[in-house]
Symmetry: C2
Subunit: 98 residues, 2 copies
C-alpha cells in the first residue's frame, strides 16, 4: 500500500530507526513522506520497506549517497519515487510558507 497514513513514531517502531534517522534520510532524498495539515509527516508501507532496506545498507556501512544511487539503478521503486519526490517536495514547500 502506498497511501501515506503512518506517522513517524509508528514508523520508528516498524523499522527500528530513530526519528532523527528517518528525517535525515528524507533530507538526503531517499524517502518522500507527505505532510498532513499541521506539517506532520505521513509515511506509506512502501516507505517503511524502503527504510528497512536503507537500515540494512547503512549497517553494511553504505553511505546515503550510495544508497540513493543503488535505489535509482534498481528502479524497483523508481516510478513510485518520482511521484513521491514531487509530492513530498510540494508538501514541504507549502509548509515552509505557512
Amino acid at each position: 500500500m502506498n497511501k501515506k497514513v503512518i506517522s513517524i513514531g509508528t514508523v520508528c517502531e516498524l523499522t527500528g530507526l530513530s526519528e532523527r534517522q528517518i528525517r535525515y534520510y528524507e533530507e538526503r532524498k531517499l524517502i518522500f513522506p507527505e505532510r498532513m495539515n499541521g506539517g506532520i509527516r505521513k509515511y506509506s508501507f512502501l516507505d517503511v520497506e524502503i527504510l528497512i532496506d536503507i537500515a540494512n545498507k547503512r549497517e553494511e556501512g553504505v553511505q546515503t549517497a550510495e544508497i540513493k544511487k543503488e535505489m535509482n539503478k534498481k528502479n524497483k521503486y523508481d516510478a513510485a519515487a518520482r511521484d513521491q519526490a514531487i509530492k513530498g517536495q510540494l508538501n514541504a514547500y507549502f509548509h515552509k510558507r505557512s
Copy 2:
C-alpha cells in the same frame, strides 16, 4: 492490511467521520483499535473499510446495535473481529490501569 498503524485524525480524513463518532463506534464494539504507548488509538485499513460501511448504514438510519448484528451475521469480518475484540479490550484494559 490489518496492521494497526493509522491514528484517529487520519482515519477521520479517510472516512469523513468525526473523532467522536469513531470513538463511539468503538464504545459500541463495532471496531477494535489497538493502543500505542501513550494510549493513542491505532487503526488498520480494514478498520477504515468497516467504518465506511458503518457510515453508510448510519446514513440509512440503521442503529449501531443493528449494524453490529449485521456484521456478525455477514461474518465477512468475523474472524478478524474476534481477534480484534480481544486485543482491543486487552489494550483498553491495560490503559485504564496505568
